[in-house]
């Protein structure tokens, strides 16, 4: 019965929407984002907490400020595409607040409240920030070194028979090994844990970069070389101005895979040996059963990873403007 009802109402809704193309939804939706957040603010403020949580009022104010900002945004017609997401986000945060802070539906302390998370950012932002910076520094050095040498090795594999003869077996032996497996050995053999972490991160990002640079160069249409050769191009030009740009789309695939691998390597290295960074922070939080801190660290980590991936996509879009269509991040 209810199934047919739903089907019927669904039909009715589609019918209305198609009848008025510039109808209710696109006009009204942006105006719902602000109220969703304001509702979350009111619930947070007026419904008493089930326990003694920190910063409840601050959280209510924060929700309220976002709600008002969204109303202004709707008035300025800034919200169109993102409105549905902003509504769901506001409602979701409100629901979380009700479930955990007002009703304690899930066991504490493993599941925290929104205000617990906010409190971590207020009281511990300094250490979180330093951990983030440390992780970024560690990642930047290892990833850059690994990617650059990976591309260099890939060029060698693609363009030089002798280089391929000597390097290919080594690559086949070491490459498929998860770099994490080398971690215990690296911490013993390399006196500085920082250096060991960097070396493994370079390995993690270098392998995919090398393989995909190589396969990209191997797939270059030989006619491209002929065109340049008939105009007098030498090996240097053929490698850096023909093979390399032609292989660029593949190289970026390798750089993405390498970035993912070095994220994993970064966190593991920080948890196991390097005594700083977001991984270490998480490890510490777990040791002290500080679950809100763990969630906060996860949040920062996710922001860092997606931010870096976005950055890489931006660089790629700049370099590969000539491509007909690229995947958008």
């Amino acid at each position: 019965m209810s199934g047919t009802d739903m089907a019927f109402s669904g039909q009715a809704i589609t019918g209305t929407a198609s009848a008025s193309p510039a109808g209710l939804r696109p006009v009204l939706l942006p105006w719902l984002a602000g109220p969703a957040w304001l509702a979350a603010a009111l619930v947070t403020h007026y419904w008493p907490d089930a326990d003694d949580f920190p910063d409840t009022n601050l959280l209510a104010i924060l929700f309220g400020v976002v709600g008002i900002a969204l109303l202004i945004g709707a008035a300025l017609r800034l919200l169109t595409v993102r409105a549905p997401w902003l509504i769901v986000l506001g409602l979701g945060l409100g629901a979380w607040e009700i479930a955990q802070a007002k009703l304690i539906a899930l066991p504490r302390p493993f599941f925290g409240t929104p205000q617990d998370l906010l409190d971590v950012f207020i009281t511990d932002w300094h250490r979180l920030g330093l951990s983030l910076l440390h992780s970024l520094g560690l990642l930047a050095v290892g990833y850059a070194a690994g990617s650059l040498s990976g591309i260099a090795v890939g060029i060698g594999l693609g363009r030089s028979k002798r280089f391929r003869y000597w390097t290919h077996p080594i690559l086949r032996a070491i490459g498929p090994l998860p770099p994490v497996a080398l971690l215990p050995l690296a911490f013993v053999l390399i006196p500085s844990s920082w250096l060991a972490g960097e070396a493994l991160m370079a390995l993690a990002s270098g392998f995919p970069a090398a393989i995909l640079t190589w396969s990209g160069i191997a797939a270059v249409d030989p006619a491209y070389y002929d065109v340049a050769r008939t105009m007098g191009a030498r090996e240097r030009f053929l490698t850096f101005r023909v093979a390399l740009p032609a292989a660029m789309p593949q190289i970026f695939v390798g750089l993405f895979m390498g970035l993912g691998a070095s994220f994993a390597m970064l966190i593991v290295a920080e948890m196991l040996g390097v005594k700083a960074g977001l991984g270490f922070y998480m490890q510490w939080a777990q040791g002290w059963a500080a679950y809100p801190n763990m969630y906060a660290a996860l949040f920062v980590m996710s922001a860092m990873c997606t931010g870096l991936i976005t950055l890489l996509f931006r660089v790629r879009d700049r370099i590969l403007v000539w491509q007909k269509d690229g995947l958008k991040w």
């Binding site: 491209y224 105009m231 101005r241 000539w322």
Partner: protein, 256 residues
């Protein structure tokens, strides 16, 4: 015979050229004993059936591959490899997709390290591509891509221009315009040209000499001097007679 401006062209001599490829484990002869002497400044049209080895012959002359047998001399010196004096315009445009039209045309200048923007502008307007300088190759039509490739071949004033069906993808009218441009350029610069074409009229309009090739493996069937003054008319009785002769050579006596 026409006397072009001296010194800009290159004399070419092919003697006993043989070449072949291994396809699927079997050796296939592609060029079998081609001997041909081309004086500086001549415009030779190469005609022959599809797959007979015309493109292969041009690759050998360009120095992209050494022939299995025989010798190629450019101005008396053996050809050992590619040289910017002998530019080959390929049958496919093969523009670099990561370079826009202007950058593609400037390729040989990038290789030699000598940028000359005026020359780029000039050759772009010659092929009628001004306004498309910043277009990417995938945004061009087939004919536009071919004109861009022609511009890329013309830009650095080679002494020998090897053209592999340079106007094959153009519509009939653009083709006429480009033939006129090509003729004007050849008169003006005096380079030596070898042009593969499937179009007998085009050969008769442009060439001082028409060489027909057999089916694979390519041999020279006939070598015809076109001793007609330029501004040849397509319906000139002498042109029509030559055309009939050449089509007969290629085995199409009854078709016209």
């Amino acid at each position: 015979m026409v006397t072009p401006s001296p010194g800009n062209g290159l004399a070419l001599s092919l003697s006993g050229i043989r070449h072949g490829y291994t396809i699927g484990g079997d050796f296939t002869a592609v060029v079998s004993g081609v001997t041909l002497n081309v004086a500086a400044g001549e415009f030779v049209a190469l005609l022959g059936p599809s797959g007979c080895g015309k493109s292969t012959l041009l690759r050998l002359v360009a120095g992209l591959e050494p022939p299995h047998d025989g010798e190629i001399l450019a101005d008396g010196l053996p050809v050992h490899g590619p040289d910017p004096d002998r530019i080959l315009m390929f049958q496919d445009p093969t523009l670099y997709p990561w370079r826009n039209v202007r950058q593609n045309v400037a390729l040989s200048q990038d290789i030699s390290g000598k940028r000359d923007n005026a020359a780029i502008d000039q050759v772009l307007s010659l092929v009628g591509l001004n306004g498309f300088e910043r277009a990417w190759p995938h945004q061009l039509s087939g004919g536009m891509a071919q004109r861009a490739a022609l511009a890329r071949a013309l830009i650095n004033r080679p002494k020998l221009l090897l053209l592999d069906e340079p106007l094959g993808k153009l519509d009939a009218l653009t083709r006429l315009t480009m033939q006129t441009e090509l003729h004007r350029l050849w008169k003006e610069r005096g380079f030596t040209a070898i042009m593969v074409t499937h179009d007998v009229e085009e050969a008769l309009f442009l060439a001082t000499r028409i060489v027909t090739l057999s089916t694979r493996p390519a041999r020279i069937l006939s070598d015809i001097q076109v001793d007609l003054p330029f501004h040849r008319h397509r319906d000139d009785p002498q042109v029509l007679q030559l055309r009939r002769d050449i089509l007969t050579q290629l085995g199409h006596r009854d078709d016209w």
